[in-house]
């Protein structure tokens, strides 16, 4: 959305933002104050889809000067060090962790913080010499990230193989209970050892991380990838230029028939969104000089050929519910076979559109954008009417097995990321295998990504990222808080009541 000049002074005078947050917001306003029609050559029709909230650009701005998500291959550092930062290749765990922390402060993204901090266990494992001492170092390293990257879209990966480093990371995560970095275990039931899976489940219940990603499924669709930000699967050594999203709920409400939505609205809005994405990418690649000026590109941490972009949706539930209502069916998405059929019709229409569009500078993903189930944002009134991604609204959730089966059928559509989350009760701590069974069952049913946490813990999952309930309460009371995501968490909870997901007992 275009910025107004008044936002500048409002931000400067704010009582509940810290210096760094004001700085980032001011930079974002600058990006949004340049005229998209002039800079990106957006058309009047395109502008209109943003103004009527059908397409959301997530405040990415119009003077785009870096890709939205960057997924550096940090193994390059272990091997070659970094010339630009005058760092030699690390020779011990101290040099490795210190070097990584330095690197992180030079990895940009849409949030200005790194959204990917690497395949941590693989990076650290070769440097483990003394598990007791290394544990303390790893714990300090993770805590350092939490305090200097105060934004839980920052994401690390472990797995699929069990390693000493992986186990130490999980141990530290349980001890720290920090929101950042977010963490995912790439899971493969044939490779990931049971004992390691149980440990990961224990950490997930006690510290709301790691989440579990279906490694085989993502390798098939994206190749070598990192799980970054909320739960996005993107090529390693690359990333995503941009992410725009269709608010399906808002779009459907402008239609008075199923046919109107499928045959007219969706094709028109897809086309509009493709055009906007194309223009953004062309600007980044051809005009912003990002790749020419970045040491990440020069030294091989990233390669512009590994970038793609994400064509995202939110509000599938509301779109389906609107059509059910038009068709006089007294049912709701999540508990309706007809609803599921409508959802497939919507998503396969979009899938086809995405496959028919030739995307510029996206060779890595066969010149196509990747469909994405986007979750978190509370940017406008319209977000209240658009449940995250493909998810079932809080309050309409069926019992767990039926919920899993319902949602599993939609994971196939979203190669760059999709995920469901479930709040469990304390009793699962006594039977970690039960959670492993649920996760493996979900993967066998087509799941790509699943998150669990304990309903009553301070640290909880909002939509893909973590917040502390206590910090959100501070934000509600207008206090200055450390993490940007606490404010987003507050907005998302207000919109979608996500702190009160059905507890699975």
């Amino acid at each position: 959305m275009k910025a107004k000049q008044s936002e500048i002074l409002e931000t400067i005078k704010s009582k509940n933002l810290n210096y760094q947050q004001k700085h980032h917001i001011l930079a974002n306003i600058a990006e949004r104050i340049v005229d998209p029609m002039e800079v990106l050559h957006y058309t009047t029709e395109e502008m209109q889809t943003i103004e009527n909230s059908m397409i959301c650009d997530l405040n990415e701005g119009y003077g785009v000067y870096r890709p939205r998500y960057i997924v550096p291959d940090y193994a390059v550092f272990s091997e070659k060090g970094c010339k630009y930062l005058e760092l030699e290749p690390p020779t011990d765990i101290d040099e490795l962790l210190d070097g990584l922390l330095i690197l992180y402060s030079h990895v940009p993204s849409i949030t200005s913080f790194p959204v990917f901090v690497g395949q941590l266990d693989q990076l650290i494992e070769p440097f483990i010499t003394n598990e007791d001492e290394d544990y303390i170092k790893i714990k300090r390293f993770l805590n350092h990230i939490d305090k200097t990257v105060p934004d839980s879209f920052c994401h690390g990966n472990i797995g699929p193989k069990a390693t000493r480093a992986g186990a130490l990371i999980l141990k530290a995560v349980m001890a720290l209970k920090n929101p950042t970095p977010n963490l995912t275990i790439k899971y493969n039931q044939d490779i990931t050892e049971r004992e390691f899976a149980r440990l990961a489940v224990k950490a997930a219940l006690l510290a709301a991380k790691p989440s579990f990603s279906n490694d085989l499924g993502y390798i098939k669709d994206v190749g070598e990838h990192g799980i970054v930000s909320c739960y996005n699967a993107l090529p390693i050594g690359g990333g995503a230029y941009t992410l725009l999203r269709l608010r399906l709920g808002t779009i459907a409400k402008s239609c008075d028939s199923r046919e109107g939505l499928i045959k007219e609205a969706l094709p028109y809005l897809s086309k509009t969104m493709f055009s906007m994405m194309d223009k953004r990418i062309q600007f980044i690649v051809e005009e912003s000089n990002f790749f020419e000026s970045s040491f990440l590109e020069k030294e091989g941490f990233i390669n512009s050929e590994n970038f793609t972009a994400m064509f995202a949706i939110v509000g599938l539930a509301e779109a389906v519910n609107h059509i059910l209502e038009i068709e006089n069916k007294d049912e709701k998405f999540g508990q309706s076979d007809d609803g599921d059929k409508i959802a497939h019709e919507i998503l396969s229409t979009l899938e086809q559109a995405v496959n028919n569009h030739k995307a510029p500078y996206c060779e890595r993903t066969n010149n196509h954008y990747l469909l994405h189930a986007q979750v978190g944002a509370s940017l406008s009134q319209a977000d209240k009417e658009n449940t995250p991604a493909h998810r079932i609204p809080v309050g309409d959730e069926p019992i767990l097995p039926l919920h899993l089966t319902q949602s599993a059928q939609f994971h196939q559509y979203f190669p760059s990321g999709v995920g469901d989350l479930f709040a469990f009760d304390q009793t699962y701590l006594n039977n970690l295998d039960a959670v492993v069974d649920i996760i493996e069952g979900a993967f066998n049913q087509g799941y790509r990504y699943i998150t669990t946490y304990l309903q009553d813990s301070d640290l909880i999952r909002v939509t893909g990222y973590l917040v502390k309930r206590s910090e959100v309460e501070k934000a509600r009371a207008n206090e200055v808080v450390l993490r940007n995501t606490a404010m987003l968490g507050m907005g998302t909870d207000d919109n979608a009541n996500v702190f009160n997901r059905r507890t699975r007992t």
């Binding site: 019992i399 767990l400 097995p401 039977n431 069974d437 649920i438 979900a442």
Partner: protein, 253 residues
């Protein structure tokens, strides 16, 4: 091939027999290892003072509220949960009252690649279980106590240690449980007696469950109140079992 009249009747009976079910819990994490679907049958041969599911005690009659499932019906429900569970556990009530049905059901459930557990109070006639035991993967086995059992179970009976011993030797026991209630039974002797038998079996879990009155009927609460062991007493019992050599002891409060 033609069936004899007797065989034909028997095969029809098998298709038509039903199981009186009080409740099905799709996902349970307390009825054996992993995630399981728990099926609670209606009807029990005991009437324990602290029974947690007293509504399942009465045998099916006009007053009880159960649903009768044919094997086919029950299977279609299990299949729905199948992808996410490791198996089923039949509990109750007393599952072993329905051994003919369960033998048939388990045969079908096994074809789905799932395991079959029985949660039992241990009071069953071994001869009637001849077909069911081999097809059951594991038993969760209650030991009520070694003496004064009539006081706890309010039924005349013989003790179940022989059945436990038999199943232990077959490696069919996953856990043994004793609900700890003071004065009704000699807790210390009970724990000793069970522990002596379990110490040879490293994998078997011994759960010591402190009796509690959450969820009990008013009448039951009166019977139980005042006999709840203290935390100290529970810790003592746990240590006793460990000192005898039981590897997996868990106190549940």
């Amino acid at each position: 091939m033609y069936l004899t009249e007797g065989q034909e009747r028997k095969s029809m009976e098998i298709q038509e027999i039903t199981l009186p079910v009080n409740e099905i819990i799709p996902f349970s994490n307390v009825d054996g290892r992993g995630n399981r679907t728990s099926i609670f049958v209606q009807g029990c041969n005991l009437n324990c003072v602290y029974c947690h599911n007293p509504e399942t005690i009465k045998l099916p009659c006009e007053e009880t509220q159960e649903t009768n499932y044919t094997i086919k019906e029950l299977l279609s429900i299990i299949k729905k949960y199948g992808p996410y569970i490791r198996g089923i556990t039949v509990s109750g009530g007393e599952a072993t009252l329905y051994s003919t049905y369960l033998t048939q059901l388990f045969g079908e459930v096994k074809k789905l690649g799932l395991t079959c557990y029985i949660d039992t109070n241990g009071l069953f006639n071994l001869e009637k279980m001849e077909a069911l035991i081999p097809i059951t993967d594991k038993f969760l086995f209650d030991i009520k106590g070694i003496n004064n059992l009539e006081k706890v179970t309010r039924k005349k009976q013989v003790n179940s240690f022989d059945n436990l011993e038999y199943l232990l030797k077959l490696n069919k026991v996953e856990e043994v449980r004793t609900v700890c209630i003071n004065e009704y039974i000699d807790l210390e002797s009970t724990v000793k007696e069970v522990s002596m038998r379990l110490r040879k079996y490293d994998d078997v879990i011994y759960k010591l469950i402190r009796v509690h009155h959450r969820g009990l009927t008013l009448n039951q609460k009166e019977l139980v109140q005042g006999f709840v062991p203290s935390t100290k007493e529970m810790v003592h019992l746990e240590n006793l079992a460990k000192s005898i050599g039981v590897k997996n002891v868990m106190s549940i409060f």
